[in-house]
Symmetry: C2
Subunit: 183 residues, 2 copies
């Protein structure tokens, strides 16, 4: 990593502040001294949860207005202001699936769309699940699925599973199964 | 997947149209008949490339204004208007790394941030590379790295690799190595 790649912010123009995201256009000085604009979507960050019930992955089916279709995804949701990501992961898991968990392990944190957004997803593994109560947000309608590995492979092939965080979760699951099989 | 999850668009308010993204706020009718707003970032779609030179992954180090830092990512870029994703993948690979490829295989297509954006990334495996010439976009400054698997693991641990598409690529690589080792 060298300094010769760094862009310097000259000015920031706020464009929009919404419920979830805000948009700004930054003017930056490039490494060669010329100028460019960068369209930046600010996001509060999110959590996602890899959780299994009897070796089946807990997933939620949810309508996504951005794509105009339903998607099967792992449980996830935005961080509330000042919220600890691990607590948010436990909260989202219970709200969306009705399961509580006794043990939560951080797996990865990654940016979803670094070309235009600072959204970061903190991915956790939830273990030792017990039944709780579903309580999705009032504008959130979803159905819970418990999906076998073979079903997940099929859903990926069909495009019903089609988002980056769930793909990362799927590959972590595959790797864990390979490790178990190799022992 | 059931119809009882579907949201119906009532109205769309355009907020911003930029060079890369546009933003709109949709008002939708929820399955229970109540209304909600959805903040949607429209994106033209992108491609990303998993490519190896002598068993090392080709990566680019690039400043990301959204996060205010450099990131090591696999080569990637936006689709141009009407462009075929596979041709775009070959174009981005050569522009960003200087390598041409003879064989391009589609691996997955996934949405990066389905909660607020329709951005889709088409991920390809590039094989049979030959040297070409780098020609990044005029507002794009980057450095090419050839990274071993162990280095990639270390960069993930350090957070220098920290984006979803590169995590997906890493796990596909790990899976391919496991399959080779298992033969």
């Amino acid at each position: 990593m060298t300094n010769k790649l760094i862009e310097t912010t000259i000015s920031t123009e706020p464009v929009f502040t919404g419920k979830v995201i805000s948009l700004q256009v930054d003017t930056v000085e490039l490494p060669d001294g010329s100028k460019a604009t960068r369209e930046i979507v600010k996001h509060p960050g999110a959590v996602a949860v890899l959780a299994f019930h009897q070796d089946r992955l807990l997933m939620v089916d949810q309508y996504r207005q951005a794509m105009g279709r339903c998607e099967l995804e792992i449980p996830a949701g935005k961080l509330e202001k000042g919220e600890d990501p691990m607590e948010a992961a436990a909260r989202e898991l219970e709200e969306e699936t009705g399961y509580r968990c006794e043990r939560m392990t951080h797996l990865h944190s990654f940016y979803t769309a670094p070309g235009f957004s600072n959204e970061i997803i903190h991915l956790y593994l939830a273990e030792e699940l017990t039944s709780g109560e579903m309580s999705p947000d009032e504008d959130e309608f979803l159905e819970v699925y418990e999906v076998s590995f073979e079903e997940a492979q099929q859903y990926i092939a069909e495009g019903r599973i089609a988002d980056a965080k769930t793909m990362v979760a799927f590959y972590i699951w595959q790797q864990r199964l390979s490790q178990v099989a190799g022992k």
